[in-house]
Symmetry: C2
Subunit: 827 residues, 2 copies
Amino acid sequence: MTTHPTQPSPGVCPELTPAAPLTEEVRDRLAHPDEAELAALDAWWRADNYLTVGQIYLQANPLLREPLSPEHIKPRLLGHWGTSPGLAFVYAHASRLVRHTGQQLIYLAGPGHGGPALVGAAYLEGEYTETFPEITQDVDGLRRFFRQFSAPGGIPSHASVTTPGSIHEGGELGYALIHAFGAVMDNPDLVALTVVGDGEAETGPLEGSWKGISFLNPARDGAVLPVLHLNGAKIAGPTVLARKDPEEVRQLFRGHGYEVLEVEGDDLPGMHQRFAETLATAYGLIRDIQDRARAGEAPTTRPRWPMIVLRSPKGWTGPHEVDGTLIEGTWRAHQVPLSGVKDDPDHLRLLEEWLRSYRPEELFDEAGAPTELVTRNNPAGPLRMSASPHANGGLLTQDLDLPDVRDFEIDVPAPAVVRHESTRVLGELMKALYERNPRTFRLFCPDETNSNRIGAVFDVSDRMTMERVTEDDVKLSADGRVMEVLSEHNCHGWLEGYTLTGRHGLFATYEAFAMVSASQTIQHCKWLEEAHHLDWRADIPSLNILLSSTAWRNDHNGFSHQGPGLIQNVLQMRGDVARIYLPADANTLLAVSDHCFRSRSHVNLIVQDKQPQLQYLTLDEAREHCERGASIWDWAGNELDSREEPDVVLACAGDVVTMETVAAAQILRERLPELSVRVVNVVNLMTLARRKDHPNGMSDMFFEELFTTWQDVVFSFHGYPGAIHQLVHGRNDADRFHVRGFIEQGTTTTPFDMVVRNQASRYHLVMDALNNSQRHPRGSAELKAWCEAQLDRHEEYIREHLQDMPEVRDWVAQDPGSEVSGRPVEA
Amino acid sequence: MTTHPTQPSPGVCPELTPAAPLTEEVRDRLAHPDEAELAALDAWWRADNYLTVGQIYLQANPLLREPLSPEHIKPRLLGHWGTSPGLAFVYAHASRLVRHTGQQLIYLAGPGHGGPALVGAAYLEGEYTETFPEITQDVDGLRRFFRQFSAPGGIPSHASVTTPGSIHEGGELGYALIHAFGAVMDNPDLVALTVVGDGEAETGPLEGSWKGISFLNPARDGAVLPVLHLNGAKIAGPTVLARKDPEEVRQLFRGHGYEVLEVEGDDLPGMHQRFAETLATAYGLIRDIQDRARAGEAPTTRPRWPMIVLRSPKGWTGPHEVDGTLIEGTWRAHQVPLSGVKDDPDHLRLLEEWLRSYRPEELFDEAGAPTELVTRNNPAGPLRMSASPHANGGLLTQDLDLPDVRDFEIDVPAPAVVRHESTRVLGELMKALYERNPRTFRLFCPDETNSNRIGAVFDVSDRMTMERVTEDDVKLSADGRVMEVLSEHNCHGWLEGYTLTGRHGLFATYEAFAMVSASQTIQHCKWLEEAHHLDWRADIPSLNILLSSTAWRNDHNGFSHQGPGLIQNVLQMRGDVARIYLPADANTLLAVSDHCFRSRSHVNLIVQDKQPQLQYLTLDEAREHCERGASIWDWAGNELDSREEPDVVLACAGDVVTMETVAAAQILRERLPELSVRVVNVVNLMTLARRKDHPNGMSDMFFEELFTTWQDVVFSFHGYPGAIHQLVHGRNDADRFHVRGFIEQGTTTTPFDMVVRNQASRYHLVMDALNNSQRHPRGSAELKAWCEAQLDRHEEYIREHLQDMPEVRDWVAQDPGSEVSGRPVEA
């Protein structure tokens, strides 16, 4: 069994050095493999193909040391053959490139369902055994290796989180290049070789991701080498690109800005020779671009990066025809090309012939380990792609150099009396992060950095572009590291690639349009959930998402911009990954952000509007509040000492609804002082969950300390009411929670009117409190009538004036002793 | 005020006739507008620009009949100026095209935030006043028209559902071309002129949608004419495409398969002349392609459809510079280029100059109506783009010719004894729909039609492609009308465009990957929600979504393929739109599908697995079940007459969990006959909601008839448990619902083991039932121990055999008198 002294283990990262200069000699050797190299290349490829077929079919007799018989065949045949030989072919050549150049390379398989090829590669490189010691490099290990594939307690059929060397599962298609570009940003010594399947190439996110080169600076970023693998078919038919005129394909990718290199065929060793030469050319172009840029020759325009179009048959080297039907090169090769092998002796024979066609006796030694002919093609140590620390980014992760957030504290002389655009403090904090962490922190945002009031980052970093810059442009350059592209898919996925390789960042977007990339959020959660089960996967920086043009303040944009849906999705993810924060003011946002930027392997969803909003807490108070996740805001309520429990609890989570709650409490305090009212604010939504459902979940005791045991709770929530309904299910007498949240209705209106339309205005909350309180002090009915009158006045006023009533618009909390706020202005 | 005798009203559709043959004379006239035409074009354009600026700024003095003063200015300045003049420019020319050719044209504005230009166009065409009679064509109507924009009780700032002529809101960017292609499928006489903004062009979905032409047959489909509007900037900076070398842009779109026509500049009347000529060329190319195809000259390859790249400055004709800063042509023109107009006399003056630069006195007559100089450019009647019945598709909707679903009934001799791939019946039903409705029904699916077992449609229709077809291809041709493209965004959006223009269809996809297009699902729900408020919007066919590779059966694919998230999202949508069905067998699916294909303006989410599954109900039973939405399955339970209420209720929604529930009930019936057990199946999830929350919601009485008043309910649910938690919140003693649903965990396993891992297996359900029952008959403890032993056996078995135990795999219900099922097999 091969040993790997440089094998990384969590917390200990092997030393990586930049590749040596690329001499003419190396270029030439790379382009023209000699006979011995060809033999090794081909042997490695055959071995990986053999392992692929073995994983799909075999549960015993892994090296065909006896004739194949039905009991050797798995009961369920699962997996995807079609794409696998192509993936293995490219992998073999990439390994050879690494061996000759010392290039740090990671391999992303867009068609991740070709998992067996990637898993097989890790096995051939010895990394698999290092990671999973029970999968030994012998006959018995091989049998276990085959049996675990797509099997109970085993591994998925994809290049998943369980696959050493993978940062890209490739299950949900579309993100291969996006992840690759994210991975190489600020990673000058890394090349991400990325296979794009022609099926995946049809997806929107993938088509939108070729433009990554417009955001890649060759002087300080690494490179992505896309290999578009046109094997012709997807699950059930041909692909669009495979059937287009090749000249049109060439034009398309030239139009995307690439130098298009092409390799086509299925002849051997011709394909090896041509691919080696093409890969050498592509790599040479990359190094030339980088060398020029790093020699200080700043590119005036985006360089023309290479890409490879590889046309090889789907299911290459597999059964060409079965039962008279063409398999190879068609969609029929997609999954399991030979079915019914256990029962059909002809198919069993075909399978055996197929397996033996790889000449396993040359590939595996007596013990069952890969022969030297095969392993000769492996790079050494951490340069093996399956062992790259870049693909286990926690190993490379360094803590952010975080400033003291106290430097950004907003002065809050008293709760709810000053207004501030809260997200601005996050902008200031990120400005400091850019300054202190010039290679390991980035902000990703679809063109809304300034709109989101986090534009302070532009004081220290421009927007990034490699396209033409004019004199009228502002804060835009190839040196910029603020990533603005009008594509949530790119922003989200670039950040994923960036964090998966060990760096930090934040994705800021509109709340409603966060649903565009919700599927990515979910898939990334799933990746992290799974990674938590694997000791060898070191924790990576969290994926931080800021939603700062929220549902409640898109009053004028109407229905398409109003949707708090992402909360609802993150809520379903596992507790060890999902976090949802709803800070109500600036200092709370500071405390939350500070925590998120330190956290690891979470998806932190922060929801807070960018508009001027009331400030409640000092930083110390905010920190304490965040520590608990939810607190009683004594100053806001009117809890009477004479009573053991308040008559009613006004709870809130979310900035706009918090202001309404505080205002409602003040109305009650002033107008119905006999009513004992408690105000509870929730900043960490997950604290509402039960302990067994979420590690941040409150104990029943703390829950009841906040929300009482049985008093009614009027809960104003930023998101859909159902989120709170599901969170409190199972708590004592959960029906006492009356939730006012966002309701689908598509309003074009004013800011305050949004809360009115959603029946979450201060007036509604007062009425709710009175309707649900256990006590009904004198004056309750009058107060309700007053609230209704206020709502009528409001309706009339906004129709006339097109904006909210001044006493609502400019509302601030008042000392109970002073003039009563919210008093109707006499007309 | 102009009258429009042909104005459509719901249910009454104006007659539309195909455009006349395009003679050389018309082509020539089109390409070369004379002076008078240029004057009208320009006047119309100026008028629309004037209306745009008025909508953004004015609340009074709409025609500047007195000097502009601060009180004429709105208190909140909202809206997007930058894109609007470009949208108006193209609209003016498109109208002229229609006048000369009689072409049925609809106009989709990708940058839908340029709403004022579209709303203004509808006003100038008279359609706005027809639709909203209070917005009269006079000074007072104009004032109301300006005031309502982006204001309380008014209209959103986008080309939304309230905009006559719009089928595309353009709020969430990326779907303009997708909607356009869907709209013209089977619509041979329609051209969808679609403006793509250069911001939107950066999104993944948009980049993935250019390939629509690979799926458009010129003989029987209409055409899409994309106008890529490179005005250079988005919200805060330049766009990628605007800064690319024009030759690269040309290559890109040639690569996408288009004939690229270009117009650039800001000179007048030069731009009018050049755009008219280019539009004439583009339209001529379209008609040539169509004429050739329709003359029977079947295209052997995809035609090269035209597109136009229009380069004009952002904010064209607006303030060029303000306070010494360049505005026109930059991102600063995006929204409101002149701010603080109420308070800044200089800005007020600039605004007045800007407005007067359009010479309103030439554009509006004494009364305030558009002058003849302006209206001369309008087409007549339903050819006006704002009045096109295609953009109010309910007017054109015809009921599907539906077969009797009884023809497809599956024979169910007894409940839970035969297995069937249920979705196959839907395939058969859709096959009949294709046959009976050859122009008004299509299936959209990312390459999984056969995989989803609905491939019967291929008996009568091929997959559609305009790309090269080879002799080895199967069921693939330009005549095909089954739409397979590996892009959920395209599939979903094409179906939206198809239904918005009045035709019927279904989108089938993997459950987990339905999240890729979840944002589209939500946005379409929002469109329909809003349309329900507008009498003049006629109901359109529902958007039907089938999720048939479900979370529970992606055991081998692992975590990326396991996610029931879409249910959670549709659940939050309004009751008048959202429907979620979880049929457990084939006949129930038939009943559900029959209902969905007849329904209007809903989003129907149907979740059912494609794998062989047990059958429970005859068609009559299924229909009755669907009618109620949820029923007690007497045959499955063991309710003892001697007791008023059962000891425990086993409820279920979803096919896999229904089987487990039925099996659990059988175990209880056989092994603990003293326990009174009720089984309830829910097929229409929304019936669980309260009446006030959803029109399908059950009354409390019916709810308690099913679930009892206070007995515990063990509820097995297909989706995340939180969905049921939120649905039952507020029902009597909701905490008695103990939900077993899908838990995020990423399992690679076997089918039965999926339910074991999710703690929703029959054994878990039996234990849950016993733990939560009010009664504990003798033998309960032994039965729990037996269940635990079964789970241990199972674990051991699958590790050894890689598949489920035969008695679980092949489980069918047994007559209580016969051998006890589920009995441990002696080893």
